[in-house]
Symmetry: C2
Subunit: 195 residues, 2 copies
């Protein structure tokens, strides 16, 4: 059979086989390393685990943020897509918001150091920052709008601020048994309610 992708549209002639292989090896190695040592694991460790040189990492993922995004893209997408579903499903908008935020918290607290990286002002994390915001702020905004329209919550909070706040509350969760990020997020959401 002829090649799937019809002609006339391929200025990008598909990468070399070894390049694709290495990219996959790096993604797998990075995913494992992130779990084992957090998203701040040294570049050399990832390279070693993937069996490639450090140059290869930088070629495929110019910044650490690119690598992190590549590793977690699926989960972030899933989270973003869950927003509208929750809103459409039964329950009040505030309940949907709470459930959605909870998904976000679940995601963050299981990713060692990710919340801190999100907050970092290091230039290498700009892309990470941007991706999360681009993808999640509109979803959060939609949920907030619905809850405000339903008269359930105060109108003086924006999606950006809320997400940053929740992200911040998740920093360090998982490395301190005495710190309950989820509880604090609940408190924050509760503070949003009109009374």
């Amino acid at each position: 059979m002829a090649d799937i992708e019809s002609a006339a549209e391929r200025p990008v002639p598909r990468k070399r086989a070894d390049a694709r292989r290495n990219e996959k090896a790096l993604l797998d190695a990075a995913a494992a390393a992130f779990v084992a040592s957090g998203v701040d694991v040294p570049v050399r460790d990832i390279a070693a685990k993937a069996g490639v040189g450090v140059g290869t990492i930088y070629r495929h993922f110019p910044t650490r943020a690119d690598l992190i995004v590549a590793v977690y893209r699926h989960q972030i997408e899933a989270c973003a897509e869950a927003g509208p579903s929750l809103l459409a499903g039964g329950g009040t908008p505030h309940a949907a918001l709470a459930r959605w935020i909870n998904l976000f918290v679940d995601f963050l607290i299981t990713k060692h150091g990710l919340a801190a990286a999100l907050r970092s002002d290091d230039a290498a994390f700009q892309a990470l920052h941007a991706y999360f915001l681009d993808r999640l702020v509109p979803v959060c905004d939609q949920l907030l709008d619905a809850a405000v329209a339903a008269g359930e919550i105060r109108a003086d909070i924006d999606a950006y601020g809320l997400l940053r706040g929740v992200g911040n509350l998740c920093i360090g969760a998982g490395s301190d048994p005495r710190y309950d990020a989820r509880h604090l997020v609940e408190l924050l959401l509760s503070g949003l309610r009109l009374r």
Copy 2:
């Protein structure tokens, strides 16, 4: 006149004059450097600004936390002491708590990177962590107890968690105009109220 400190009690024969001079120079230089470049400013910069070698920093302040604590000790003490005063002054316990937390937030958001350092799990910051907690948790606890006793707030929050949460919310404040840490802290406190 005889020496001020009476005999019989001085196992510590007072440091050398140059040592005292350097310690002060270091404190001044560090304070200035923290303001200019945050608490993560390179050790060498502080040493240069103080006109000493890096070895001298480590001799006087073995960890960065020691230096940070030394620089901010007065302000932290002032914050701790303000707790009982606020409680004794007029107003409800919840109002006192809110005002006190606000002092804490004021302190943190004006110290570039301090909130993040507080949250860091780097061993070098253990002492910082410990000092803040030792000094402020009891005060916060007292305020929380009073507010709970007055029936103003939920009882399911502990001082440690609240302080960590507030500290976390302050991370990055001051380096992002779109992020309003104070507002989020207000929301959190509002979520604490019984309704």
